[in-house]
């Protein structure tokens, strides 16, 4: 194995140190480090909710399914949302994902520099490994990283929902999220079959409760 087996804690320390160094780097290298973080995190997001390639040769979004996925839905914005609070940790977490990817690839006789270079199947295997760890704080962090792209796609969590639905947000559109009224408010005047669809329980009390 190319990468020695490091403890999760040690990796996190190294990654945090690496992240802390970013502001000290010359502008171009800092930019490259941020781009690397974004590529890794978006590749992770694409593993959670896969999307079609945005352009020919897209290396981040791999096109595992037709239709847009979490990246198109705004996963990167949600990762960086101040109310989510993950932003400052992203370089460290991306570095951890990359390390895991390098280890995984090495175990399969392959040399890669990061998560982005894996196939969709390999990315999925790495994500499963990270998400399948024992319960505890580390596992919760991975869970949060999985939740954000899913929230970006299923809820447009970084946007006002009425605006997002009207603007055709890719995830909400995929779900068939209903359109609000003209004033941006949801109301459903037609909401019921208006038919007795079952017999009620014989021992129901006069006010509708179980006995």
């Amino acid at each position: 194995m190319i990468v020695p087996a490091l403890s999760r804690r040690r990796i996190l320390q190294i990654a945090t140190a690496a992240a802390a160094v970013i502001p000290l780097l010359p502008a171009e290298e800092a930019q490259a480090a941020i781009l690397q973080t974004r590529a890794t995190m978006e590749a992770w997001a694409d593993t959670m909710v896969p999307g079609e390639r945005r352009y020919a040769g897209d290396k981040v979004v791999l096109g595992a399914t037709p239709g847009p996925g979490a990246v198109q839905a705004g996963a990167w914005k949600l990762y960086n949302d101040p109310d989510v609070g993950l932003g400052p940790l992203l370089p460290a977490l991306a570095a951890l994902i990359d390390t895991e990817a390098i280890t995984y690839a090495a175990g399969h006789g392959k040399v890669v520099l990061g998560f982005v270079e894996l196939t969709f199947k390999e990315r999925t295997a790495v994500a499963q490994k990270l998400l399948g760890g024992p319960p505890g704080p580390v596992q919760l962090v991975w869970y949060a990283l999985a939740a954000m792209p899913i929230l970006a796609f299923h809820t447009a969590g970084h946007l006002d929902t009425a605006t997002a639905v009207r603007d055709g947000h890719p995830g909400l559109t995929w779900l068939g999220f209903p359109q609000p009224d003209d004033d941006g408010i949801w109301r459903f005047p037609d909401f019921s079959y208006r038919r007795a669809l079952a017999r009620t329980h014989p021992r129901t009390t006069a006010t509708g409760h179980p006995a």
């Binding site: 959670m48 909710v49 896969p50 399914t65 996925g69 949302d81 101040p82 109310d83 989510v84 609070g85 993950l86 999925t124 994500a127 319960p135 505890g136 919760l140 949060a144 939740a147 899913i150 929230l151 796609f153 299923h154 809820t155 447009a156 969590g157 970084h158 946007l159 006002d160 929902t161 009425a162 995830g171 995929w174 779900l175 999220f177 209903p178 609000p180 408010i185 949801w186 109301r187 459903f188 005047p189 037609d190 909401f191 019921s192 079959y193 208006r194 038919r195 007795a196 669809l197 079952a198 017999r199 009620t200 329980h201 014989p202 129901t204 009390t205 006010t207 509708g208 409760h209 179980p210």
Partner: protein, 531 residues
């Protein structure tokens, strides 16, 4: 005499458990002060949006070990964000023993003795009785599936003004139409009308013994920054003759355990015997064609269902397994309930092979979102949960706006798992009969998800396994009462709010008597708000 601020009755938390005794004692004549950790919002502030930073200011998603809990964080507590299903617990619940050899509820409490208090709460909120005309499509579909499988199914009583309700399905965000009858519309304004004071953004940390003669307890709080609850904006203390702890099941045991050092010994049952109300969430992805052909449902020409996001979240429920003749752990309520898309991480994708809850197949499941039918089985658990290390402040460690980490751990034992398996099988038999749909587990998170945390500071007759006497007083601490969900001894097989409320009503005259005993001029027999 110390310069510390003083009140007669100090109430911690403004949900059902806090607002109800606050009203009764204020109406009876006592000076009442309510400290509430969350902000105060009203109809004009509530949004219909899933944008993080909006609803997350009033709802906490609490991560424990083996469990996730959802709870309110605002004036009115969880009643502001809840789904308003208002059900009385069936009679057999009060005789539950769990895996112990004794009745877990105090002998003084049964369905019959609680019924007058349920009546009073139903009149006050008030609770409306849905007819089938009021039950949204999803509830109708579940009812029709129950009938198809030989089961009965009932419309669920709701604390909702059905004429005002727009069936918008945004209850989690707080009701912008003031149709949901939360504490903001009944007990809290009535308490204020009698002089009670509510202080939002006041997070209680500690209860100690008061120094001023005649005052029993001192309550220490932190004022929190409205934009970031992690940042303190001040501190203070109040001395009181009577303290009512109603910080909710996720708060009360933590505050009391932290206070053990300053109050002296507290009962060993505090922080133990947590119950997630036996909540077992799952769903079905329904087949539109089978709904039309087998159930003969059509909501518009050519459309059978396709209506998951429409309506009030809770429409219908089968009481068939709420049968006292069945053995304990095999009785459960089966309910149709809408979960907003923020929980879409949880369902498994319904195909064999990993991954279960993310990736390609999960995205394909999302394409059928409008044909989902989410389901809740309310089973009998065995109170297996307990709290671990105390957080430095508050009830848990807040990592982001609504994301918090608690030391609560919950791992269902064989009894509870038996109930889960039985209720899963019952739901599967209903939704899969005649190919109506496919039943799916919720696997993408902690094993248990609950919006109904209970017990952890429970009442009972046995001092070894209960923290409170039947009058809600903390054993060994006169004048210190607990009236929220944490006092409820066991899971209820129905949604808990009406029972929490009825118990809080029932406790109030006794608290008034205790107040009189320490010289407060207060009557115990007051009419319900608005009468």
């Amino acid at each position: 005499m110390s310069l510390t601020e003083k009140t007669d009755v100090l109430v911690i938390g403004s949900g059902f458990g806090g607002a109800i005794p606050a009203y009764n004692l204020a109406a009876g004549g006592a000076k009442v002060t309510i400290l509430e950790r969350g902000p105060e919002l009203g109809a004009a502030d509530f949004t219909q949006s899933l944008e993080i930073g909006g609803y997350t200011r009033i709802v906490d998603l609490i991560q424990g070990n083996g469990i996730q809990v959802v709870a309110g964080n605002c004036v009115g507590g969880s009643s502001v964000v809840y789904f308003a299903a208002s059900l009385r617990a069936p009679s057999f619940v009060f005789n539950r023993r769990g895996s112990t050899d004794h009745r877990l509820w105090p002998r003084a409490i049964s369905r019959r003795t609680l019924d007058p208090w349920y009546d009073r709460v139903e009149e006050t909120l008030p609770v409306a009785h849905q007819t089938w005309d009021d039950v949204p499509y999803a509830g109708g579909l579940f009812a029709a599936a129950c009938r198809n499988a030989g089961h009965t199914c009932n419309p669920v009583p709701l604390a909702v003004d059905l004429d005002r309700c727009t069936n918008c399905n945004w209850m989690l965000n707080g009701c912008r139409f003031d149709a949901k009858r939360s504490m903001l519309l009944n007990y809290l304004p009535a308490a204020r009308a009698h002089g009670a004071e509510v202080r939002p953004l006041h997070e209680v940390q500690l209860i100690t013994k008061a120094l001023t003669p005649g005052y029993r307890y001192q309550v220490d709080y932190t004022v929190v920054n409205p934009n970031d609850y992690r940042i303190p904006a001040g501190v203070g203390s109040i001395e009181a003759k009577i303290v009512i702890v109603a910080a909710g099941t996720m708060g009360t045991p933590v505050i009391l355990r932290r206070s053990a050092a300053t109050l002296g010994k507290i009962p060993g049952a505090v922080g133990k015997y947590f119950s997630p109300n036996g909540d077992r969430v799952s769903m079905a992805v329904m087949d539109e064609r089978r709904i039309r052909d087998v159930l003969r449902l059509e909501r518009e020409p050519g459309v059978a269902y396709d209506a998951f996001p429409i309506g009030k979240p809770i429409g219908s429920m089968s009481y068939d397994y709420l049968n006292g003749q069945l053995p304990e752990f095999e009785r459960f309520g089966l309910q149709q309930i809408y979960f907003p898309a923020i929980t879409n991480i949880l369902p498994e994708d319904g195909t064999p092979g990993a991954p279960d809850w993310f990736g390609v197949d999960k995205k394909l499941l999302a394409k059928k979102w409008r044909s989902w039918l989410t389901l809740l089985a309310l089973t009998e658990d065995d109170n297996e949960g307990k709290w671990g290390a105390l957080p430095p402040t508050g009830n848990f460690i807040r990592v982001a706006s609504s994301a918090v980490i608690s030391s609560l751990s919950y791992h269902p034992n064989a009894h509870t798992l038996r109930g889960f398996a039985a209720s899963d099988a019952a739901l599967r038999a209903i939704v899969e009969k005649d190919g109506l749909g496919q039943h799916l587990d919720w696997t993408g998170g902690q094993p248990v998800l609950s919006a109904h945390p209970l017990a952890s500071c429970r009442m009972g007759d046995d001092p070894a396994t209960s923290a409170l006497t039947a009058d809600h007083q903390l054993r060994g601490h006169p004048g210190l009462f607990v009236t929220d969900g944490s006092a409820v001894p066991t899971s209820l097989t129905v949604n808990p709010s009406l029972t929490i409320a009825a118990l809080a009503e029932r406790a109030s005259p006794g608290i008034a008597a205790a107040a009189r005993a320490v010289g407060i001029s207060v009557v115990g027999d007051v009419p319900p708000p608005g009468r």
